[in-house]
């Protein structure tokens, strides 16, 4: 009796050891990748941002804040990115909100197919979908039509911020629709009915019931759209002809053409800092939103 209990315990202990070892084996490749290709590179970028450019390009060890000084002096790409990313986020929100609402509440039995149809373009090449707008917005496309209408044959959309904005809105629209759709889908519809039964109009119901509930979805969607728009490179390069000069373009220039790695690293650190501020604001806002909702429910 005791003997069998002891062997069982030993066996369990042995299995426990093996299992703990095995767990680490399973975790090892992903952990290695996260360390080597995420943590270490980002750390190196921070170190490089304090260095200087080596004579034939690259990095030479130094400790200087010059690169950051340059970022502040020539902040135009940052402002251009902020301007385009915020207007792009607003635009995607305006387009996505009614659609998400339609899908969640009025699409009926076609809902599944309609949601799947949103996913398909998102799966296909971003680059090619972006360059297709070269044909659509070009002088023989939309720009020509608008130009004829307003009597200005030189009217152009490509190479302007409008063209870049259309491309960005197009590219990231699904990322805004999905979180909105999910929140609206999960929403307790009886609250809306209750509000209407209590005599509230459409607008009052939307403002007092729907809006507070979907706010987290709106914020999530905005973050998902805003962050890649801030770092966007392909769309301004193609649809803006590189004339709309965003942080992404500046980074490519620094790293691949000028090979001034420290200057580029400082810009990258600036971009990451902006992201962190945005995400912190996001988390703060969500928590704040929750508190407000609790109070209103009481």
């Amino acid at each position: 009796m005791t003997a069998t209990a002891a062997t069982a315990a030993t066996r369990r202990g042995e299995r426990g050891w093996k299992s703990a070892f095995f767990t680490w084996v399973l975790l090892f490749p992903a952990a290695l990748w996260y360390f080597l290709l995420l943590v270490a590179p980002l750390f190196i970028v921070v170190v490089f941002s304090f260095g200087e450019k080596a004579r034939n390009g690259g990095y030479a060890p130094a400790f200087t804040f010059d690169n950051y000084g340059q970022v502040l002096e020539r902040a135009e790409p940052f402002f251009a990115s902020l301007r385009l990313a915020s207007s792009g986020t607003l635009l995607t929100l305006l387009v996505a909100l009614p659609l998400a609402y339609f899908l969640a509440t009025r699409a009926g039995r076609h809902k599944g197919v309609l949601v799947l149809l949103l996913v398909v373009p998102f799966w296909t090449s971003f680059l090619i979908r972006a360059y297709s707008w070269l044909i659509i917005l070009g002088p023989r496309g939309a720009a020509g039509v608008v130009g004829d209408a307003i009597g200005d044959p030189a009217f152009r959309i490509l190479g302007t911020e409008v063209g870049v904005l259309v491309g960005m809105t197009y590219g990231y629209l699904p990322l805004m629709i999905f979180p909105l759709y999910v929140t609206l889908e999960r929403m307790d519809r009886t609250l809306v009915e209750a509000s209407k039964d209590l005599g509230a109009g459409r607008w009052a119901t939307f403002r007092q019931i729907t809006l507070p509930i979907i706010l987290p979805g709106v914020i999530t969607g905005s973050i998902l759209v805003f962050i890649p728009m801030m770092g966007e490179y392909v769309i301004p390069a193609i649809l803006g002809y590189g004339r709309t000069f965003l942080i992404g373009n500046a980074l490519v220039l620094d790293f691949l053409e000028a090979r001034h790695w420290p200057a580029g690293s400082a810009k990258a650190v600036g971009l990451i800092a902006l992201m962190l501020v945005t995400i912190t604001f996001y988390l703060w806002f969500l928590n704040r939103g929750r508190k407000v909702r609790d109070v209103s429910v009481l």
Partner: protein, 318 residues
């Protein structure tokens, strides 16, 4: 709280009726507006795809003017050695990336069920960082990392090998692209498989252990089949993301390892050509075929499992 502005539509009688009818009409208008908006958004989403495919069949040399239907540009594109080479590179990169990322991601997802809270939180943080940091930052950081690592490792390698002309050294190429793609895609697979794991029925695993199955056998016969849809989805997603990637690839590719998106981007910078449209249309076709294959595989698997279930039922009842 504002006072009720519109009488409740349920209120019958002379007073309520016209207001209710007006409400209905407004409701109908709003309904129509939502529908119209939805149609416009779907048109907006599919317009670029349709335009590329249509213009790929355009006989004109000028890519942006439609003249006649022709498939000649597909032939031109397929005969182009650069395109062939780029396609080959894309397939190699996408396949190895997808295979390794799926393996690493699934392994990590299984391991994360059995680690402490702190390890899991750390891993979660890294997973989300790798997804949320703008692609371009990941790209340049990876470039800087590889270049620095090679600067340190290559002299040592040369030393060890005696510095001959044929000595092995690290450089940018397929391997660096694959390694860089694996990071993002491992996170993706990890999230997919973990979502599936958390929704999984634990009782089957417990039953399997109760019936003295070994951990390996339990995994093979219970856990793995249930995870398969997530793993297949993860593989296909990883494959297409890698196949379509431009930004990271452009930073860490080397001579001769240029992929299709790099080729397309280079062409587009010089102006659209019908040949590029044909390449683009083929990439679309390929991606959509992958999606269909994935869907069919999942349906087939579900049906097979359904058949097995009904067989078991038949045996147990009959």
């Amino acid at each position: 709280m504002s006072a009720p502005a519109i009488p409740a539509p349920t209120a019958a009688g002379h007073v309520g009726r016209p207001a209710a009818r007006r409400g209905e009409r407004i409701g109908g208008l709003i309904e129509g507006a939502f529908r119209a908006h939805a149609i416009l958004v779907y048109a907006f989403l599919y317009l670029p795809i349709v335009v590329i495919i249509v213009f790929a069949f355009n006989g004109n040399r000028l890519a942006t003017i439609w003249t006649e239907f022709s498939t000649e540009w597909f032939g031109v594109a397929l005969d182009n050695r650069v395109v062939q080479r780029a396609l080959q590179n894309s397939l190699i990169v996408a396949f190895f990336n997808a295979a390794l990322a799926t393996l690493f991601g699934t392994m990590a997802a299984l391991a994360l069920q059995r680690v402490g809270k702190r390890t899991r939180l750390l891993f979660d943080a890294l997973t989300y960082i790798s997804i949320i940091v703008p692609e371009i930052v990941i790209a340049l950081a990876t470039l800087v990392f590889f270049a620095s690592a090679f600067d340190i490792l290559n002299p040592i390698l040369l030393d060890v090998q005696g510095g001959g002309a044929g000595a092995f050294t690290f450089g940018f190429g397929h391997a660096t692209i694959i390694a860089a793609h694996i990071l993002f895609n491992t996170s993706l697979v990890l999230l997919l498989v973990r979502a599936r794991l958390s929704g999984m029925d634990r009782t089957m695993v417990e039953a399997s252990y109760d019936l003295f199955a070994t951990p390996w056998r339990t995994f093979r016969q219970i856990t793995f089949p249930q995870l398969l849809p997530a793993i297949v989805a993860g593989f296909l997603l990883a494959f297409t993301f890698s196949f379509d990637d431009y930004v990271i690839t452009s930073f860490v590719s080397g001579p001769g390892s240029s992929t299709l998106p790099l080729f397309v981007f280079g062409q587009v910078k010089r102006g659209v050509s019908p040949e590029t449209n044909a390449v683009a249309a083929m990439i679309f076709g390929f991606t959509i075929a992958m999606l269909l294959v994935g869907q069919l595989a999942l349906i087939w698997q579900a049906r097979r499992r359904g058949a097995r279930d009904s067989m078991a039922k038949l045996i147990s009842e009959g």
